[in-house]
Amino acid sequence: MDAETMTAPDLSRLARQRKRAAWAFLAPMLIVLAAVAAWPLARTIWFGFTDASLDQLGNAQWVGFQNYLHWFDYGNGQGEWEGVLADPRWWRSVWNTIWFAGLSVSIETVFGLVIALVLHRSFPGRGLVRAAILIPWAIPTIVSAKMWAWMLHDQFGIVNDMLMRVGLIDSAIAWTATPGTAMFAIVAVDVWKTTPFMALLILAALQMVPDDIYEAARMDGVPAFRLFRKVTLPLILPGLLVAVVFRTLDALRVFDLIYVLTPNTDATRSMSIYARENLFDYDKFAYGSAASTLLFFVIALITITFIRVTRMNLERED
């Protein structure tokens, strides 16, 4: 039978059945997500308020905000502030992370835009070029960190060799070991690795712009740069912003690259590195959990602010 011959009760029964099926289908996925995301997050936040240590997770006692900030009294009337919020190393890592994210995402946006504009034109071999720029994206971060560690090697590195041949530097530089250049080395490798992602997202936005707009502008003899600024850029801006947000969120949680390329350096320690160090290397599990919690709220705040500001419509109900 077809829809016309079905009676109303039939249809509503069908709808109820389908609703029940919907929840049955969603349940496994939701349970897994709750188990890998919601529950662990709640536990991390809780650990941040306890005195948990790596081998004493079960006996953790509530200590309030002690891991975040407390006054440590020497007993002679003097004392000092202790806790994550009083730790200059934490604030240094916050600053490092923001500086890293801001710098690398800005550079990636510019490079990504250039590559996207190149790929938007049709020329022989375009497919190959697109495949080539996907390579840095596909290479594991650890591998790219190691490859660049070797290329940036102070004595045997090819980067120093290239720069000396061209005459840009007179003597070899220890890029990753010098505090002044370590962060730039990190940014350079991150830009190399993630610009392809940016370029592809911007390219997708470019391809959404209808061709007749360009046709009309060309007829009117609008110069290329003005066309880009006045027509193309406003049209791709929403897509560009989405790409910038995803990259920023990713950059704010940077871990692998710094862990491998410049381990144990104050100049490049990120929030994630700081948190993990305390969790597992210094046996300050509770303290590390507090730092993880702070990191989570920093990122959540940035995300919510952005969604509010741009009124991103994520629901897209039909």
Partner: protein, 274 residues
């Protein structure tokens, strides 16, 4: 003038390609050199010495680690596709209250910094007795593969016309039958795309693998590579590191070359995670 512009354009194209492939090319060059030759800087292939690869493969541990990576990534792909396909059907084709909010919640999980769940996951994995087991990775990787897979498959399913399942519904087919008979045959392009991306993410993951595995034979390749070190800074076996790097990257490069269209469409359709 026009000719100059064309030359300029192709010069730019050349620079883009060169910067993208050079580091990998240089890693291959280094991996084929041993002894003193490694420390001579050369831009073109100078040696063809497979001993780094031979010593790595004959050590036994590396083969095991490669297998660990492959098994973990494959299991992650299968599990996330199974969980996501049924969930995406419910989210895309059945109207119920709270659907939009649910999608938003799922999407927001993909923004979670991994470090924020690390302490809680560590506790959970130890409680389940999964510490130092590959299952710990398969389980924890769901945090980044599931939201993305659900999101992309839902978007894809929404675009399919209502008519395709109408007949099946009227015939009284169960929802599971509809997914299996009607949707799966149409879904495979989206499933290949999301599967590939899930595979690549799982293959490359580092933080969880570093934290939840503790013995050499259980490690995945990225962690193994990060752990290769010499007795001193001057004895770091760069040749071995580069050989391992090439071996772990090669499968990905092949996937990218074969499936570049699918990967690009997945990255931009989801645009959830790089």
């Amino acid at each position: 003038m026009a000719r100059l512009k064309t030359y300029g354009f192709y010069l730019l194209v050349a620079v883009i390609v060169l910067q993208a492939v050079f580091p990998f090319y240089y890693a291959i060059l280094t991996s084929l050199e041993t002894g003193q030759a490694i420390f001579d800087i050369n831009y073109l292939p100078a040696a063809l010495d497979w001993s780094n690869y031979r010593s790595m493969l004959s050590s036994g541990v590396f083969g095991r680690q490669f297998l660990n990576s492959a098994v973990t990534a494959s299991a992650v792909v299968v599990l996330s596709l199974v969980l996501a396909t049924t969930a995406a059907y419910a989210l895309a084709r059945i109207r119920f209250r709270g659907r939009g909010l649910l999608l938003l919640t799922i999407l927001s999980v993909s923004m979670f910094p991994q470090i924020a769940v690390l302490a809680g996951l560590f506790e959970l994995i130890r409680a389940f007795g999964l510490f130092n087991s590959l299952w710990a990775l398969v389980f924890s990787y769901m945090i980044f593969t599931l939201p993305f897979t659900v999101w992309v498959l839902t978007t894809f399913m929404r675009k399919l016309p209502v008519e395709i399942e109408e007949a099946a519904i009227m015939d009284g087919a169960s929802a599971l039958t509809i997914i299996w008979r009607v949707f799966l045959p149409l879904m495979w392009p989206a499933m290949v795309t999301t599967g590939l991306l899930a595979f690549i993410h799982a293959w490359n993951e580092f933080l969880f693998a570093l934290t939840f595995l503790s013995t050499d034979t259980q490690r995945t390749v990225p962690v193994a590579i990060a752990m290769i070190s010499g007795r001193s800074e001057f004895e770091i076996p760069w040749g071995n590191i580069m050989a391992a790097s090439v071996v772990v990257t090669l499968p990905l490069v092949v996937l990218v070359l074969i499936f570049q269209r699918k990967i690009v469409s997945g990255l931009t359709a989801g645009a959830v995670k790089g």
